[in-house]
Amino acid sequence: MTVQVVCFAGLRKYFGSKTGVKVEVGSSYQSILEALAKINPEAGEVLKSCRIAVNEQFVAPDSPLKEVDTVFLIPPSSGG
């Protein structure tokens, strides 16, 4: 299936504001990060420090992917 990934801040230079990735049904959220690292290997390092949010909540990377259209890729915070 295809999941839309919304990117913020420093991630946009690798993937733009939004990108679609193909992942297998039944896989974990981690597989989205892996798919993105294949699309752009330069982003591999920063992807290791990113979290994924769904419905404004962080999800555990190893939890099984639910039926979602869109996930939000959250790089490390740098507010304040």
């Binding site: 913020f8 949010a53 507010g79």
Partner: protein
């Protein structure tokens, strides 16, 4: 959005709202834009957020602070968009009966906001370049389920 705004933070009005006959101590923290960072000259910053989530997370942090500490009042506002040098990027105000709670809660809130809330700083330098900031120093508790990275002390 209650905790995020694109216009200047009016900490004076926020602070005046903290007058409370039960509060013996009010602490205000203002995070401001420095003209330098790690040896490089900064011209200004721009803040971006995943807005609905950031707003919700700040509200949750404030609610947790009210439970943990004996606070009468609490507020936190973070700027988005362009902030000039010496401009206020974030304000935290805490009001409590005694000063220990007001200080401790204030610091608890700003540490959590800086480390956990999806807000990002885009730094613009005098040489025309720009960079997305990293400021996680991982000093806070409640830092589990997070990310791996090399720890760089602020």
């Amino acid at each position: 959005m209650k905790h995020l705004q694109y216009n200047d933070i009016d900490y004076r009005t926020l602070f005046d709202g903290f007058r409370n006959p039960n509060s013996g101590a009010v602490v205000l923290f203002s995070g401001e834009v420095r003209d330098n960072n790690k040896g490089r000259e900064v011209t200004h910053l721009e803040y971006e957020a995943y807005e609905p989530m950031a707003d919700k997370m700040i509200a949750e942090i404030l609610a947790e602070a009210k439970l943990r500490f004996k606070l009468n009042h609490v507020a936190c506002v973070h700027r988005l968009g362009k902030v000039e040098i010496s401009g206020c990027a974030v304000v935290v105000i805490t009001g409590a009966g005694h000063r220990k709670e007001a200080y401790d809660a204030n610091r608890f809130i700003i540490d959590r906001v800086k480390n956990e809330v999806p807000i990002w700083k885009h730094e613009f330098f005098t040489d025309g370049t720009s960079e997305w900031g990293q400021n996680c120093d991982c000093v806070t508790n409640g830092h589990e389920q997070h990310h791996e990275h090399r720890h760089e002390k602020a």
